[in-house]
Subunit: 199 residues, 2 copies
Amino acid sequence: MTIDFRTALEKRRSIYSISKESPISDDKIIEIVNHSVKYTPSAFNSQSARVVILFGEEHNKLWDITMEALRKIVSAENFPQTESKINSFKAGYGSVLFFEDESVIKGLQAQFSSYKDNFPIWSQQSSGMLQFNVWTSLELEGLGASLQHYNPLIDDDVREQWKIPAHWRLVAQLPFGKPTEAAGDKNFIPVEDRVKVFR
Amino acid sequence: MTIDFRTALEKRRSIYSISKESPISDDKIIEIVNHSVKYTPSAFNSQSARVVILFGEEHNKLWDITMEALRKIVSAENFPQTESKINSFKAGYGSVLFFEDESVIKGLQAQFSSYKDNFPIWSQQSSGMLQFNVWTSLELEGLGASLQHYNPLIDDDVREQWKIPAHWRLVAQLPFGKPTEAAGDKNFIPVEDRVKVFR
């Protein structure tokens, strides 16, 4: 059964309980990420988004890096809770890392100086669109995922580990895997309090 | 025929040539916007997005406001080009205005001070997701739309015209209408230059 765009929006949820299995092949995951990267719009079609996909041991390394970075700043008393959280992400099958290429943004700022202050903002908005599209596309294939933000804490270690160009700025991390628990209930503010219509 | 999520991503384009017709009813447009507002995620489920939908004369007013604001800052020599651009948006059927509620963001900053600097960034990312979802949902119904950014130039006039709360910050404008011309070709950077895989 084909699921339409609107139903896809409804089905996407944060899935925190994931395992080291995938209902689809690694090549299919890569193809899905590539597709979202290609078709997500960006200011002036600048295509500033960059992505790293980590599978297996490479995925484990990301969460080991995150764990060690947190160990340095979280108190011993609070660390067990942190450890358990990071292990829940490490328990997944892979991770997608979202970056924005600062050299592209600086290029736009130099070329179109009257929009100078806007390009970093539009870059964040475009990255959000991409994060959502990858997240939703993966979940439609039976994977579970959630969006995490351990940047800038892990930026230097990530850059060093995978030889990421210095001008790629980490924006978000999406650990994914086969869901082992469904998402809980979600609360919604009445939409009437959020949308005004004038006609 | 049901169009799936991925095909929907491919079909969404910037449509600049639009008319004062709509293939769907105003109520259907409102329902579509409400749906995206409800299901687009936000940091900590804060639901900080706010939206204004303008139809008919209210839509015309938005672009009149924008025209007059630009007339004050664009040289007489360059104004004909600006005028023609704004008139192309005014030629549409309606506009969706995207806001973020600053009071929600400040509330999060007060409650979770260690993420203080991140909430405004996550708000931009979430707004981007919503802009994309509304844009794509409307185009799937046969409307054409493009994302515009005349904020902060028009913020005060918009706030006054529609009695918008002072803590709603304008982020983007999406004029829409029946497409009168198809989108042109789009250039793509090779995805291999944008995505790295480690496995």
